[in-house]
Symmetry: C2
Subunit: 245 residues, 2 copies
């Protein structure tokens, strides 16, 4: 058992983008987590047949790349579509009848920023994770035998609970195959185990619920904690996220 | 109720020093938390009659200020007294028979660094908190009617569980008197409520327990989660922590 233990790759949880530089990103698989709602929307668009998703870190880049690629531009600030872009950040906006075979160019407050930070830090692979594609993320990580960073997008560099909760869900499913000496991961896992049978009620207590509920987005958030409802595997290849399943 | 609510000051929890700059420190009371063991030791030394504690952020400054003040120099790295200093970072080293009326000049890996960051950021008051002086910290915060930052020292800028647990203990005791819209605080409070009846066993599962137990410091750590065993109130005045009780 102990010699087997020594061969297990490491797993760490990064609670906010501002902590990313404390961890060994190079040669790690980084899972970008932005439960409300970027990575839930990405999983959904790819599951519904989007050709690819180009995540960009500013509205200006979104317009420019949208024009260059003929892609659909998407992004919100404060619950409204950003002027100059065409769609928002709701998974409900991307059914198969609309998004199939199309390119989505998207910018979000937290998730796309962290994704670009991970790429710049030399991540071996970047995937995105959310409850709607949890099992595919878990199966992918179990199959790689490589160090893993669970990257929580948080809120403007601060910690948030929902991303940490999802990190805890991944940890619960993969922990036997990884060496975990990381208080952030232990806390995330405890939080998830404490709340996992009660997620739709628990999320109604969160700061982010109140922020988005003010825009009438309750149904979106309930969707975003529904496990495996959009079973894709967004993985970064040649400048875009494609469905790796 | 709602007009009363509007008058409550804010409370935020900063999970690691690396996140401090995201918060409004100026004009806030900052509680420095380094459960294993800096702030537990500071509470103990002042409770046992130390005249003052000068927290410094390097061994070099410790030696220099120790020489200038005739104070006792203290600091550890990796469980050993730092060469050139005289004592370590264990609360057991500072009984009344030794420390009464003396000045302690101390440097630690995480806590003294965060304390200096808070001072540079213009904190209105800086106090230190730990389970050994929990009730005094709580009573002080309740009496001030000012914004509060609970500053967790963490471990080399990473999140740690024991400091967050203590932040959660403070929050549980003061939350009715503050406006709290802070996921870090909610998480800390949940973690504490989940573990509060089981602290001596729970801490044995932590990464820091294993690190310090390797140096034979189990008794220190059990002391450091004993509530109100050293009821002082370390508060920063004129370059040093003194007992504000």
């Amino acid at each position: 058992m102990s010699s087997e233990n020594n061969k297990k790759p490491s797993l760490h949880t990064v609670l906010t983008p501002q902590l990313l530089d404390l961890y060994e990103i190079k040669d790690s698989i980084v899972v970008i987590i932005d439960v409300f709602r970027a990575t839930s929307t990405m999983a959904t668009a790819l599951y519904n047949g989007a050709k690819k998703i180009i995540p960009v870190d500013s509205p200006e880049a979104c317009i420019e790349i949208g024009n260059a690629t003929g892609g659909i531009t998407a992004g919100e600030r404060d619950g409204k579509i950003i002027p100059g872009l065409s769609y928002g950040n709701s998974p409900s906006e991307y059914p198969r009848s609309f998004i199939e075979n199309k390119t989505l160019v998207i910018t979000t407050t937290n998730g796309t920023k962290l994704l670009h930070m991970a790429l710049r830090s030399g991540a071996k692979e970047v995937i995105t994770g959310s409850f709607p594609n949890l099992s595919n993320v878990v199966n992918y990580l179990k199959a790689q035998n490589a160090p893993v960073i669970l990257g929580c997008s948080g809120w403007k560099n601060r910690f948030n609970i929902e991303d940490t909760l999802f990190a805890g869900a991944i940890i619960e499913a993969v922990k036997d195959q990884f060496t975990i000496h990381c208080d952030s991961s232990f806390m995330a896992n405890q939080l998830y185990m404490q709340q996992k049978d009660n997620l739709p009620e628990y999320i109604k207590t969160l700061t982010h619920w109140h922020r988005l509920a003010a825009y009438g987005l309750e149904a979106d958030m309930l969707y975003c904690v529904t496990q495996d409802i959009a079973p894709s595997l967004p993985i970064f290849r040649d400048g875009a996220l494609i469905n790796g399943i």
